[in-house]
């Protein structure tokens, strides 16, 4: 194919624009290209447009360097990042996305890489180098600051996108798009460890002042300049955000401890009855084991609490989901997800004549156990068992409620109508709370829990409004659940007995040795 006449001239003009960014740095750019091609190009694309071979399965998409739109900056809204900003993103990665940090690259390699990344856009090298904003100084945290920050959260209309509790469930959340028109989630501020730009008070303050270019997240500078909030109030807001949840992902513990309830089991998932009961966090992965895979799952983790009274076991499972599916307000979002994401062969949900989806899948969660407490470490396959060895399931979805089932693989669930598991779920401000209760031992086919014996447990979750159905789910591998046995006297008696016997034995030995010495 011949290039149309005139292309050469256009290219010349384009290149005439770029060299200023590269002037004197051609060697660094060439070295940076080597690093880029080796580590970056497969996602960000050979020409830096964020369109690498793996990009279509990612949301948010890899950065398009030709646009010079950088989210994580210390410079004003709409401005280019500093070199240090680009370095920060490369070194630390962008939590909550598929971009990792790159500790394998040397400082020099990152320097070269920055030169090369900037060469993708004509905007760099024009005008003076970008300068960081003046962020002022933190007036300090504490309860009063957090309270003032909570007020600023409303003054600044943060809840419109991020929701009243900060879980990304604001009224505008279903409509949010990035600069490409792709759906983008309002950050869940209660899970600060997935915030792209870091989770410290300083990080959050910086992001608020700079805004996240290319996303709907604006800069707070205008509100400050027009007197809506003071600089101190933005700092207080940062302290409030940092108070919304843990900054780091909770440490993974592999055994859910189900304590004995003093004074009866909770009758529902209400906060009062469960306050003070130890909660265990389990991160979930997209189901990326069997086709069609889910590379951009909506539910990224859940919290589990448990209590038992010797007869019944009650569990409370909580997870954040900005949509109470099925909800027509999220139709647009659902449609955008199905068109924006590479569904890996999954059938997209069809639209009717007016562009509404023909189905709105429910939200769902299931808990998975073996049918029998396992011998040794053997157990069924973690992805809902297989034809040979089934798994016992507690299922819930937002349309049919709680049930039990027998799973023989990811798309094979046979309901167990006899099973006495019961419960209910409530959705409030971007969070599901699922309450489950069953007798510890049952007549019908299903797992009998044994106190004091760890029993395998695994989880799966779906967000209907993100078009998650069937194998497009979030999953975990096996963990354990353990019902605390009643306090036993052996714990005290056995060690005491062992000590007494050893002591007596020692005394006899010494006495005999001394007698023999005296005799001898």
């Amino acid at each position: 194919m011949r290039a149309p006449r005139g292309t050469g001239i256009v290219l010349l003009v384009l290149f005439a624009g770029t060299p200023s960014a590269l002037a004197g740095q051609e060697d660094a750019a060439a070295a940076g290209k080597v690093v880029y091609d080796r580590w970056c190009a497969e996602c960000h694309g050979e020409t830096g447009q964020g369109d690498g071979s793996a990009a279509a399965s990612m949301l948010p998409r890899p950065r398009d360097f030709t646009q010079a739109l950088y989210q994580i900056r210390t410079t004003g809204s709409g401005q280019l990042p500093t070199d240090a900003d680009i370095r920060f993103a490369i070194e630390n990665g962008l939590p909550g996305t598929t971009m990792p940090g790159w500790p394998n690259l040397t400082d020099g390699e990152i320097d070269d890489l920055i030169v090369y990344l900037k060469s993708f856009s004509r905007f760099f090298g024009q005008g003076p180098a970008p300068e960081p904003l003046d962020f002022g100084s933190d007036p300090g945290g504490g309860p009063a600051a957090v309270e003032a920050g909570a007020a600023a959260y409303l003054t600044m209309l943060c809840e419109e996108c991020h929701g009243l509790s900060g879980r990304g469930d604001g009224t505008s959340a279903p409509t949010l798009e990035d600069w490409r028109g792709l759906p983008i989630r309002a950050a869940d501020l209660t899970e600060a460890w997935v915030l792209n730009g870091g989770s410290s008070v300083e990080d959050m303050h910086t992001r608020m002042l700079t805004g996240l270019d290319g996303t709907p997240m604006p800069s707070a500078i205008d509100a400050m300049n027009s007197g809506v909030v003071s600089p101190d109030e933005v700092w207080q807001l940062a302290h409030y955000l940092a108070s919304l949840g843990p900054r780091e992902m909770p440490p993974l513990r592999d055994v859910i401890r189900v304590g004995r309830a003093e004074g009866g089991l909770p009758a529902d998932g209400g906060e009062e009855a469960w306050a003070g009961v130890e909660a265990f966090y389990f991160p979930l992965s997209g189901q990326v084991v069997q086709l069609p895979r889910n590379f951009a799952p909506a539910v990224d983790g859940l919290w589990v609490q448990g209590l038992h009274d010797g007869n019944d076991i009650a569990l409370r499972v909580q997870w954040n989901d900005p949509s109470n599916s099925p909800d027509p307000n999220w139709d647009e979002w659902q449609n955008k997800i199905t068109t924006a994401l590479d569904l890996d062969g999954a059938e997209p949900i069809a639209l009717d004549s007016v562009g509404a989806p023909t189905s709105r899948p429910p939200d769902a969660v299931l808990l998975q156990f073996p049918f029998e407490p396992p011998e040794g470490t053997d157990r069924p396959y973690f992805l809902m068992g297989d034809a040979r060895e089934p798994v016992y399931l507690w299922t819930w979805d937002s349309e049919t409620g709680v049930g039990a089932g027998r799973g023989r693989g990811l798309d094979s669930v046979e309901p167990l109508a006899e099973d006495p598991v019961a419960g209910e779920a409530t959705w409030e401000e971007g969070r599901w709370t699922l309450y489950l209760r069953r007798s510890i031992e049952i007549e019908s086919d299903g797992l009998d829990f044994a106190e004091g014996t760890p029993t395998p447990i695994a989880f799966q979750a779906w967000d209907g409004s993100s078009a998650e159905v069937g194998k497009r789910s979030s999953v975990s591998t096996w963990y354990y659940i353990l019902l605390e046995p009643p306090a036993s006297s052996t714990v005290v008696v056995t060690p005491l007995l062992a000590m007494l016997l050893t002591g007596a034995f020692g005394l006899v030995l010494v006495r005999r040795a001394q007698d023999r010495r005296r005799d001898g």
Partner: protein
């Protein structure tokens, strides 16, 4: 110092203490630091190992009458001599407390996960079936090393890797992909000297083709989130991704000559 080292009692004591340090700390914590795949030994197993060590030491000491006498001497002296009364008193209290503590460790309610002794690199089969086609693994080499352009194979391998493997094994091939925290066992770290350079390409081929479900029992197939990639990728794509793994990490594959038969 030398006096102690040549005395049977102290030799025995050193062996016992060194064994404990090795079981408790070296296997679990030092080996991983120097890049050898390992995990802490469960305490019940350590107690068993220590009993075996003790019996071994006693057997060795009692095998020779003279050595046995010398070995017993400090023990006897501590039991009888008046000037060792303090040491004797301390030991008479310390021993029962130690035994009591061990007994408590055994009977106390445990909220820990049962120990799984999982073989990280279980013995491979001699052959496998790829979508029904039988492939001999013994002596099998990566066919792409002999044909076509290495540059193109590596480009294919990288594309396959980033699209399919990155979520778990990570962009840096270090087993720290963005989904890695959700998986137990954790995804393999290809930058570890305990993995790729210890394995032939045919072994890696088997692990990719059959994934978690294809592991033998000692590899706990029910736990592994590794897909059976024959359901998703073609043979050439798998061989290409293997080339990419070795090329990007800089490790050479183990050869069949080094292997000397099979594991």
């Amino acid at each position: 110092m030398k006096r102690y080292l040549s005395h049977p009692f102290w030799q025995g004591a050193i062996v016992v203490v060194a064994s404990y340090v090795a079981f408790e700390y070296v296997i679990g914590y030092v080996l991983p630091v120097i890049g050898v795949a390992s995990a802490p030994v469960p305490s019940s197993v350590i107690v068993e190992y220590m009993l075996i060590v003790l019996v071994g030491v006693l057997l060795y000491m009692s095998a020779d009458e003279d050595r046995w006498q010398r070995f017993r001497e400090p023990i006897r002296a501590t039991m009888v001599q008046p000037d060792r009364r303090t040491v004797r008193g301390i030991l008479m209290v310390a021993f029962p407390v130690l035994i009591g503590w061990l007994a408590y460790e055994r009977v106390k309610p445990s909220y820990a996960a049962p120990a799984t002794l999982r073989a990280v690199h279980p013995a491979p089969p001699n052959q496998l079936t790829f979508r029904g086609e039988t492939i001999e693994l013994t002596g099998l080499e990566n066919p792409l090393r002999e044909e076509g352009s290495m540059e193109e194979h590596l480009a294919v391998g990288k594309r396959i890797y980033v699209r399919n493997c990155v979520p778990c094994h990570g962009d840096l091939l270090d087993g720290q992909g963005h989904y890695a925290p959700a998986f137990n066992p954790v995804p393999a770290d290809f930058t570890s000297s305990g993995n790729l350079p210890q394995l032939t390409e045919s072994y890696v081929f088997w692990r990719i083709v059959k994934g978690g479900p294809g592991l033998p029992r000692e590899g706990t197939p029910w736990d592994s989130a590794m897909p059976a990639w024959e359901t998703i990728l073609e043979q050439d794509e798998i061989w290409a991704v293997i080339l990419y793994l070795y090329d990007q990490t800089g490790f050479p594959p183990r050869t069949w000559e080094e292997e000397g038969g099979h594991e």
